[in-house]
Amino acid sequence: MKLKAVTGLIAAGIALGGAAFAEVAPGDVVWVDEVTIPDSLTGMPGTATAGVDVVSNRSQGNCVACHEFTALPDVQFQGNVGPSLDGVGSRWTEAELRGILVDAKHMFPETRMPSFYRVDGYTRPGDAYTGRAANPETFGPLLSAQQIEDTIAYLMTLTE
């Protein structure tokens, strides 16, 4: 099951951007010191402007469901289940932010923050928001490797 999900992901990556670099699949992410991931998941730096879409769109990361961003005053209804992300680029290194995004439970064990680049270990995983069971053949992580890198690029610009 895991292998198939990984194959699907790589296929998706190719379809999306024709990526030449083989993305790091969720199961192959290399952790250093338990909480950091130094290497880019795409082999390249992300694009901060694309990261803005990931954090604010309901259909992507929807980080604003739980976090406030003063830098995005046009995004309505920002939640506060998690801390404000103002200044987050000065509080954490890029490798730490990658770890928090991929699987925040490494840094904050009991956190309510979802794991955005993990595909196993879930209880009754669903097919998105349909309420139906997920199809193990097509089940993928919440965000793509590219979306993770774009988000990190954006978060690194939030220095105050």
Binding site: G79, T123, R124, A134
Partner: protein
């Protein structure tokens, strides 16, 4: 969040229902608010915490978390849109149905007497030792005593009937049995409450015990109490059953949810009901 307020106010000015819905997303529960129906009937919306809810400082009805506009709708039976369902339920109570040609009233008489307190004790274990919700008791009467067909769990007839029956307990404190034969069900429900379901790995507790009073996007999180059910949801423009609400909340964790009327949801209902012990049954409530 302060900077967002002007933008919000603008958005609120548009549609009335939208205003009621989004208006909920402001702040903490309003503990100065008191629910008094038609200026007469006081409804207890706060109750002390105890061993069942060690992680809550106090029990709060979801009513306290809603905007003043939504709260007002529930304080006035004439304005409360759920009252239409209560009226339909009252009619159904007196309407003969099924091969025996009987109505609920033929066996139970005046609901104001025979059904008083019933809602406050639901769900409870039946004579055969099985945990039943109000819907199960209703359908059992229909199929076994009236020779009528069972109603769908969240169909209009059922939600009208449960609304009508709940009204007969309005103002009475939640008092479910959780020991004796109910205990294994209660424990199953408690385990479910703390299980992190779905790809978002959020449990009921993640949102309603650890995060009540906070906003998740536009939604102002309450303690997820069920003392107000059945609920008229403005968003759905209709009555919502408890199991329907559970199904939606689990679905929103990107999980495979459970079915309304499933054994799992009966157990969860008992546990969640016990978290509201001491809060008053609201009869029917109004929520965004």
């Amino acid at each position: 969040m302060q900077h967002l307020k002007p933008a919000r106010t603008l958005a609120l000015a548009s549609a009335c229902v939208a205003a009621l819905w989004t208006g909920a997303a402001f702040a903490d529960p309003d503990l100065s608010a008191e629910l008094v129906i038609d200026g007469e009937l006081h409804i207890t919306t706060r109750a002390p915490s105890d061993d069942i809810t060690p992680n809550l400082p106090e029990r709060y009805s979801g009513w306290l978390f809603r905007s003043a506009e939504t709260r007002d709708l529930q304080a006035d039976d004439f304005e409360n849109p759920a009252m239409l369902a209560v009226e339909d339920g009252a009619d159904l109570w007196e309407t003969a149905d099924g091969s025996n040609g009987q109505s609920c009233m033929d066996c139970h008489g005046d609901a104001a007497e025979s059904m008083a307190g019933v809602r406050a004790r639901m769900p409870h274990v039946n004579d055969a030792g099985v945990l039943w919700s109000m819907e199960d008791y209703v359908n059992n009467c229909r199929t076994e005593r009236m020779g009528a067909e069972a109603w769908r769990w969240s169909g209009d007839e059922m939600t009208s009937m449960t609304s009508f029956i709940s009204m007969q307990s309005r103002g009475m404190p939640v008092a479910v049995q959780i020991d004796g034969p109910a205990e294994p069900y209660w424990e199953q429900g408690r385990d479910m409450y703390y299980t992190r379901y779905g790809q978002l790995e959020l449990s009921c507790a993640s949102c309603h015990e650890e995060s009540w009073g906070l906003n998740i996007r536009a939604d102002h999180l309450s303690q997820g109490q069920i003392s107000g059910f059945p609920t008229y949801r403005l968003k759905n423009a209709g009555i919502v059953s408890m199991h329907n609400r559970f199904r939606g909340c689990i679905r929103d964790t990107r999980a495979e949810t459970f079915a309304e009327g499933s054994d799992e949801f009966r157990a969860l209902e008992l546990y969640v009901a016990s978290r509201g012990m001491g809060l008053a049954i609201e009869g029917v409530s109004v929520r965004p």
